[in-house]
Amino acid sequence: MKKSKITNIIAKDFHINWKLYLMVIPVIAFYILFCYKPMYGALIAFKNYSPRLGFVKSQWVGFKNFENFFTSPDFGRLLRNTLKISITSLIVGFPIPIILALFLNEVKISALKKFIQTTTYLPHFISIVVVCGMVKSFVAPNGIIGFIARGFGADGTNLLMNPKNFLPIYVISGIWQTIGWDSIIYLAALSAIDAEQYEAAEVDGAGRFRKMFSITLPSIQPTIITLLILAVGKVMNVGYEKVMLLYNPAIYETSDVISTYVYRLGFETQNWGLSTAVGLFNSVCNLVLILITNSISKKYKSVSLW
């Protein structure tokens, strides 16, 4: 009885909305072809895949690819680099746009404020290839940063050939590119604060820093926490395009991350099954992290991603 009721509803709905469903076919096709088909295709992680044999004929090997990855000497290095790079970027890069927004908010001359904002956004619009090209030129022995480093006693080799330097170069160039853009959202939150609060605080004799810590920061706290949760959910998702543009074999030890490893394993050594397994491991980690952070954010003031 109940089943026929549902089929009834579906039939009736289709009768009314079939034109709408017809219209949305390209969208559905997009998601099937480029999102769900790859999810199904990821099953080659459990196969000894060879493109010559194709998906169906390739042999199932169970969790062998995963076992090989977890027991390989690369596993520890990749996980360590992935986490180290993204957590350092988060710890150093997250508070800076907030600080910038707080101090920018104190600038009362609007033309000056606008000028500073415009120039700090600018690097956001330069493509990642060009940013990495600039970084590589700057840290070369005769580049501007290479010059300065030599002044501090560096031996004049390319800074990107030394494994120790990759992390600071990656993080600092990232901050340069995103600081202004990331501060916009905080500036918007700041502009929504009621001016009366500040007036009341002034009557009570509060100074600029006092107001900043007692009114401004608490007011934008929900924004900060939401963005922090979002950022933590992306920790396993390192900006691999940038790593790929900056690294070189001499510094794989500190710069090779899971996604760049997947790329080389697949496209350079054609080890499709194993590389898909490594990629799937990364996707699952991402998913778990997002689910955890989202359930935390649901508890906190019911801020949720969905």
């Binding site: 709408l20 219209m23 559905i28 330069i126 005769n142 501007i144 997947v262």
Partner: protein, 293 residues
Amino acid sequence: MKIRKTTGNRAFDIINTALLLLLTIIMIYPLYYVLVASFSTYNSILKGNGILLFPSEFTVEAYKLAFKNPMIIKGFGNTLFVVIVGVLVNLIITSIGAYFLSRKNVFWQKPIMILIIITMYFSGGMIPFYFAVKDLGLENSLFALIVPTAINTFNLIIMKVSFSDIPSSIEEAVKIDGGGHFIMLFKIILPLSKATLAVIGLYYAVSHWNAWFNAMLFLKDRSKYPIQLILREILIQNNMNNMMSDVGAQEANYIGETVKYAVIIISTVPILVVYPFLQKYFTNGVMIGAVKG
């Protein structure tokens, strides 16, 4: 509001402004350095101890050599094609999706929404995606840079939220007049959502302009490379052969760095020219995204 002007207050303002201006200089100097260095001879840069305020021994040699590379113009052309066709496809498909998702009383709306949101949090990964695109025969075609990125789910959701805000009384009027879904979308809803459309269109345009990874995966012919892949050859892989054909090896090594700076300027100027006009839309976009995020 009355601002009390105490000495402490004034000192704070002065120091704060000074620090922010210092930050501005730090932000802008790398770009300024590239500009100045691109007009200098390499020898003079070496002598200048790194820090440059003005071009030393002004020359446009680097630009002459950069434009000897036919791939720079060709790459711009390919990118222009991808950006124009790509954004058009993006906007049409995304707005159709957003229109569907913003309908009420449609049985499959909710399940499809859930299936779409899942893709934001889980993906098959790089390798299966590559095979999915390859299986469609898109390899070595510029459409490999357009079709597989036709929808960005985040943009789709933003657009859906904006469509949902349109009062249903307007839509009822169209229904009574017997208008179909396409008339509703293209004649009524899109004209009412110009601001959102502009923002989303810009987001898509920027992502096409910056994209290089998919191009590297799917394109085999160099003649199809977008500008970012050409830039990668020059800036990252140090491949400047076709610019240095009539320069000696030793000299090429020297001039190479200034050519890179010239190439950076050439590729960044188009962005800087449109940037002041579009900045407003971008910041609006962050706001629209923030409402949802």
